[in-house]
Symmetry: C2
Subunit: 440 residues, 2 copies
């Protein structure tokens, strides 16, 4: 982690057109459009197979029954559902959230749960509570792009630690923490997505979990465990949450976005008691309270639907798509490419041969009617140009196969050009191998 890495490219020069430029806070300089976001516009054209986004596939939701539930809720409890609530969240929902978390061995008190506007808000609140400018957050490399956005908004510095196919590498974590200590950097927390990682598609091996927690304890570093995909294992398998193994040193982030409905924006934070008190205050200044309606919708859904059965159905859909993408990758990708083999979640992480730059190649891919997310968006430090994230969550298996076929053809012609003219992309990072969860 001490090698010199290319700095992130600064935002191109719109600034001089903005008369408010001298007024912005320092943190605003770190707010740049994510590469993934810039992509959505082109990638959403119907002729493009988008393997770029992370939208859950909601087609299996029981809309008719949700519709009548919602009608009943407004007719009977409308004056509550449409009124302000507390920043802490609806008590009944917080109890139900504890039942959800029990599936991953978490034993928690509803008082220690804070409902948030999606777990993105949880992330933002935790960063707000803990990070002064210049503080370090340790994160897997690659890491969730939305987390990197929150860390940047609070001017935290991100130090990436490599993964392999068993998830975060304990030795890498130990080394990173040692280096930070050596350089006098204040590390505030380890941010980790242990299960079905976004974007890497790997899962932290159970036998590593205690060791990771132990290392963080040793270095007096908090653990922030982000777990939106934990119940979406393709064989119904779940893993013990880090929170279940060290309640006092783990802040846990959960979400209904992937297990029920993302458009409701209902997530939560489970935090040690003293942290929870501060979280409520932070949340109050951020949004006053999460929407009451949405909390009651989730609460009713959990109380009246077979929500575990629904998660199983979602999982079956995703497994079918995972199978489609893995077999298409196997069939079509040129030699020299490798990828992860997820057992749950939404994503495959692909590494392409040296010399190919996934960010530079993207416009050519979109011209060939396939979109992906370039790996660079998932690093805070410019790495990831040999990687890409492929999402298999949303398109049909047939579209996925067609998308991979197109992508492979783009890659082939990119590699042809390279063989003929040398590297086609002058900005390819040379030097040490990118840390990445390759399995090949």
């Amino acid at each position: 982690m001490s090698e010199k890495r290319p700095a992130r490219q600064p935002q191109s020069g719109h600034h001089n057109l903005d008369p408010h430029l001298p007024r912005y806070a320092a943190r605003t300089a770190g707010m740049t459009a994510s590469e993934i976001r810039a992509l959505f516009a082109v990638a959403s054209r119907p002729e493009v197979v988008s393997l770029a986004g992370g939208m859950p596939n909601l087609a299996a939701l029981p809309l008719d029954s949700l519709s009548s539930q919602m009608a009943e809720l407004i007719a009977n409890d409308g004056l509550v559902a449409l009124q302000y609530g507390s920043a802490h969240g609806v008590p009944a929902l917080r109890e139900q959230i504890c039942e959800v978390m029990a599936l991953e061995d978490i034993s928690a008190h509803p008082d220690d749960v804070v409902v948030t506007v999606g777990s993105q808000m949880g992330l933002d609140m935790v960063t707000r509570l803990f990070c002064d400018p210049g503080d370090v957050v340790i994160a897997e490399g690659p890491s969730y792009v939305g987390a990197l956005g929150s860390f940047a908004a609070y001017q935290a510095e991100v130090v990436h630690v490599a993964m392999d196919d068993q998830g975060l590498v304990p030795e890498g974590l130990r080394e990173a923490l040692g280096q930070c200590r050596k350089h006098g950097k204040r590390v505030k927390f380890l941010y980790t997505i242990p299960n079905f990682h976004n974007p890497a598609g790997v899962t932290l091996a159970v036998e590593r979990r205690a060791e990771i927690l132990e290392i963080c304890r040793e270095h007096d570093v908090l653990v922030v465990e982000d777990n939106p995909y934990g119940l979406l294992g393709f064989d119904g398998q779940t893993y013990p949450a880090l929170r279940s193994m060290d309640p006092d040193n783990v802040v846990y982030l959960g979400s209904f976005s992937k297990t029920f409905a993302s458009g409701l924006r209902v997530g939560w934070v489970l935090a040690p008691h003293a942290v929870r008190e501060k979280l409520v205050l932070a949340a109050e200044s951020a949004t006053l309270c999460p929407p009451t309606l949405n909390q009651l919708v989730v609460s009713r859904y959990l109380a009246t639907h077979d929500w575990k059965g629904q998660i199983k159905t979602f999982g079956e859909n995703y497994r079918e798509r995972r199978d489609a993408i893995l077999s298409a990758l196997e069939q079509h990708m040129p030699p020299g490419c490798s990828w992860t083999h997820p057992d749950g979640g939404f994503y495959v992480w692909v590494t392409v041969p040296e010399g190919v730059d996934t960010k530079a190649m993207l416009p050519r891919a979109v011209t060939a009617r396939v979109a992906y997310a370039s790996g660079t968006g998932f690093y805070a430090d410019g790495f990831g140009s040999r990687q890409m994230r492929l999402s298999y969550c949303y398109p049909t298996p047939e579209r996925i196969k067609e998308g991979v076929r197109r992508l492979a053809a783009v890659l082939e012609s990119e590699m042809d050009l390279m063989r003929t003219f040398g590297s086609v992309n002058p900005r390819v990072v040379s030097g040490p191998e990118n840390p990445s969860p390759d399995t090949a």
Copy 2:
């Protein structure tokens, strides 16, 4: 504004029980429970007449028709309503928001509107964009407690400027800005609630508006206009928004919490184009996107209901309550008290005789089964101990009258004690008159 004022009391000593204490960011020290929040628990007991909260009275909402609308929305557009959207907000709703703002003479492009999770989030995002620690925000004294919370979360310093019954006093603003300049302080924006002020209940006179804008221009200071109550004038009167008079130097915050339903948490920011781009990025890192469901509910409501008629009905309810509270105050309050006479909105701001401390008196009031919000919560600098905010928005007119009767009795006995023993409250602020919008 340069007088020495008592510092805010630090939070009482829970801290030493918190093992995470050394880990928090510096900003966390400024996160303290608002006095109003601490009050909600006691004030919500049914025997207490609460004149403390600011919950809109939703009883007039057409729940049956909302119920069937909601059912239809999920049945027909469920896969959109329950899916992620953009951080910018639903385009159709942003167009409708422009129609709403046109009622206050604002001409805006839907692209420049960003939908937020209540206007509290708008406030938080604007502060995030502009305020470095130590930067100054100018705000009316008193000011909205939630705004003070956001400013504290970003470590901004608040300088209050006095109001009179015509709203913010231009001369006071000029002086405050001059003092800040003299002391080398960076003022980032004026935060103002021009219409039916929370908590002061006054409205910025139309003839002052251009002058306020001009002063801010002169001092190169942005204006943040917070306008949740603007359409709730009791005679249907509206005022030209500051934004309508200086589009390039005003960021406007709007909300459906008081004109439709607070529990949906749908608000918005209208900002100059370059600022708007950054707002979307900030919002993305804060919540990813506002809930799609809630945006579509508001959009349908605006498209299918007589929303202006509904606002008129709300206004009539509030006028009836305003009349009740003003006549009860007139009838019961002891000599030496004064209060504002709102023409819209939710609040009356009361000043009590010198020597009475509204914060110290509050437990005695709650024992007498009436609650209010002590004035100190609305100042960042410890002022306001001779003031209180009375909300007339929620209780019935009969309850309001009973509440004021009880409150007057508490005040009487407090003043009796004073006459007998001198001041009963050692911590009463002596010195210059509190700046406050007294009309007496």
